[in-house]
């Protein structure tokens, strides 16, 4: 049995070289499909990351009634922090608010002897999902001791819209790309194996079991799938780093607004996904195509 395993594995490897045209066509198809797939995944990852970064910068500011004690403020902060949609909640004292504001005023701030923002201690609330802003504001309006709530409805709504579009488009495109890839690759495998129908017939006439006939084809498919998916992953890795570097150095002004995901964080998902898809398509493609010809 071990002999048979190594024999069929060896035949699978030999088949890769014996059928050069089939190997080249399958490799080209798998590589091209997974290359496009990889580019799209990398773009989607970055767009999502950028949206997330912008989202985390959107805050709701809460001001308190004049007579509110620090103890109540701490209580409110505690209640807000516990809410699931809240990502961070910072307390800004009146002094901190004035220090921040006076930085902006520069020399003009020097004339003030007392803190003109004495009543402006506040809570800066950051959300992990801006679409929940309305929900949070609704809650804050019921909390006692709050004088004023500052929010940016337009930013929140725009971001929520962008996020929804990005999600739908990326899920749709990835599904479409995968479907096209599977279709193209299985077509190549089907044609490649159909040409070798005679070879399968001969093996069956001589008394080979289905396993014995199929195993080399399946190994061959998996090897081609593995190489075909490794090529675009390696190429994309270098391309991604080059693009990353290019954007950082040539569009430096964007760096304040946009941050890109480092290659390692994208490829930790993209590399295994591509390899699994490549090997999986190679396995199932050859498994089912050979099956059609086994009933001889």
């Amino acid at each position: 049995m071990i002999n048979t395993f190594f024999y069929t594995l060896g035949q699978g490897v030999k088949n890769v070289f014996r059928n050069k045209w089939f190997t080249m066509a399958s490799l080209a198809t798998i590589s091209a499909c997974l290359f496009v797939f990889g580019i799209f995944v990398a773009v989607v990852f970055n767009v999502n990351h950028i949206v997330k970064t912008v989202e985390e910068g959107v805050s709701v500011t809460v001001y308190f009634n004049e007579d509110v004690e620090q103890e109540r403020i701490d209580q409110i902060r505690e209640l807000v922090t516990r809410r699931p949609e809240v990502y961070r909640c910072d307390f800004i004292s009146a002094d901190e608010a004035w220090a921040e504001f006076s930085k902006k005023l520069g020399e003009n701030a020097e004339g003030f002897t007392e803190n003109p923002l004495a009543n402006s201690e506040n809570l800066q609330i950051y959300l992990n999902d801006v679409s929940k802003q309305g929900e949070l504001v609704g809650y804050l309006e019921t909390v006692e001791g709050i004088r004023k709530i500052n929010k940016s409805e337009l930013t929140a709504n725009t971001l929520t819209g962008v996020k929804a579009v990005v999600t739908y488009v990326s899920v749709g495109m990835i599904a479409l790309l995968l479907a096209v890839s599977i279709f193209l690759i299985s077509n190549t495998v089907t044609i490649g194996i159909s040409v070798r129908k005679e070879e399968i017939n001969i093996m069956k006439y001589v008394g080979a079991t289905d396993f014995f006939v199929r195993a080399p084809f399946v190994f061959e498919g998996m090897i081609i799938g593995l190489i075909g998916s490794a090529i675009p992953v390696v190429v994309l890795y270098y391309l991604y780093n080059a693009a990353f570097e290019f954007l950082r150095s040539n569009f430096a002004f964007l760096n304040d607004y946009i941050s890109y995901i480092p290659a390692s964080e994208v490829f930790i998902y993209l590399a295994p996904a591509s390899l699994i898809i490549g090997v999986g398509i190679g396995f199932f493609g050859s498994f089912f195509t050979v099956r059609k010809h086994l009933h001889v």
Binding site: N3, I202, Y205, A208
Partner: protein
């Protein structure tokens, strides 16, 4: 009581039938086969055929006489619509797909178009038959050269099929068919693509194989070899057995 007698009789009859079929390596009883795409026109009708171990039999007939269908039934490439097909004590009409491979290893098959694996050399083509029956590499290294010597190709074990003549390719196919020591050798037009000299050589080899105890069934329409060899000849015409004669001759229309 009558019921019991009937039952006994039935059992006896079935035992006798079993005994009858066990005397033969090929046993066909009332076999019918029609192709669905031929508007139900039968390819074989009521075929009864018995071939004993060690026989040499020619099956002859024109195109469309049912020769190929008969070979396909014996190989279990097709199953009969009705009747019994027993080969090497195995009832092919009841055989499941998973058992077919094991059954075929008891047969050797040779075709008109040789059907060699084109991308493998002579040695690997013959060794393939041994590998599927899980022979060890040591046994393969011993058996394959022996078989190639028997068919006169010991010196060409490294050659690819396309580097060989038709006659040589058929010898490789014969070596592959025989290397697992089958009880029956089925040869479907084995000389159809060969010149007279190679035809004679192949037929001599088949005779030698038969002398060593293997049952040989040759499907052919080569009148000369049938007439010269004086073996049993079964003639098929339009799906029925027209004649079955010991030391027969090719019957012309």
């Amino acid at each position: 009581m009558a019921e019991k007698e009937k039952e006994e009789k039935k059992k006896k009859k079935s035992r006798d039938k079993g005994k009858d079929s066990s005397k033969y390596v090929i046993y066909l009883e009332d076999v019918n086969k029609a192709y669905s795409d031929a508007n139900g026109v039968p390819a074989l009708m009521d075929i009864n055929l018995k071939i004993k171990k060690g026989e040499f039999v020619f099956i002859v007939g024109d195109s469309g006489s049912g020769k190929s269908t008969l070979i396909k039934l014996l190989l279990r490439e097709l199953t009969a619509d009705s009747g019994k097909v027993i080969v090497n004590d195995q009832d092919l009409t009841k055989m499941r797909h998973a058992q077919v491979a094991k059954f075929r290893r008891t047969l050797g098959v040779v075709f008109q178009d040789f059907r060699l694996l084109k991308d493998r050399n002579v040695y690997d083509n013959v060794a393939f038959a041994q590998r599927i029956v899980l022979k060890s590499e040591k046994e393969i290294r011993k058996n394959v050269p022996n078989m190639l010597s028997m068919v006169g190709l010991a010196g060409k074990y490294k050659a690819k099929p396309k580097q060989l003549s038709g006659g040589e390719q058929q010898r490789v196919a014969l070596a592959r068919a025989l290397v697992n020591k089958p009880t029956i050798l089925l040869a479907d037009e084995p000389t159809g693509n060969l010149d007279p000299r190679n035809t004679n050589d192949i037929m001599k080899l088949l005779e030698k194989v038969n002398e060593n105890g293997t049952t040989v069934v040759v499907v052919t329409h080569n009148r000369d070899i049938v007439n010269s060899m004086q073996k049993r000849v079964i003639t098929l015409k339009q799906g029925v057995i027209l004649s079955d004669e010991e030391k027969g001759a090719y019957i012309d229309d």
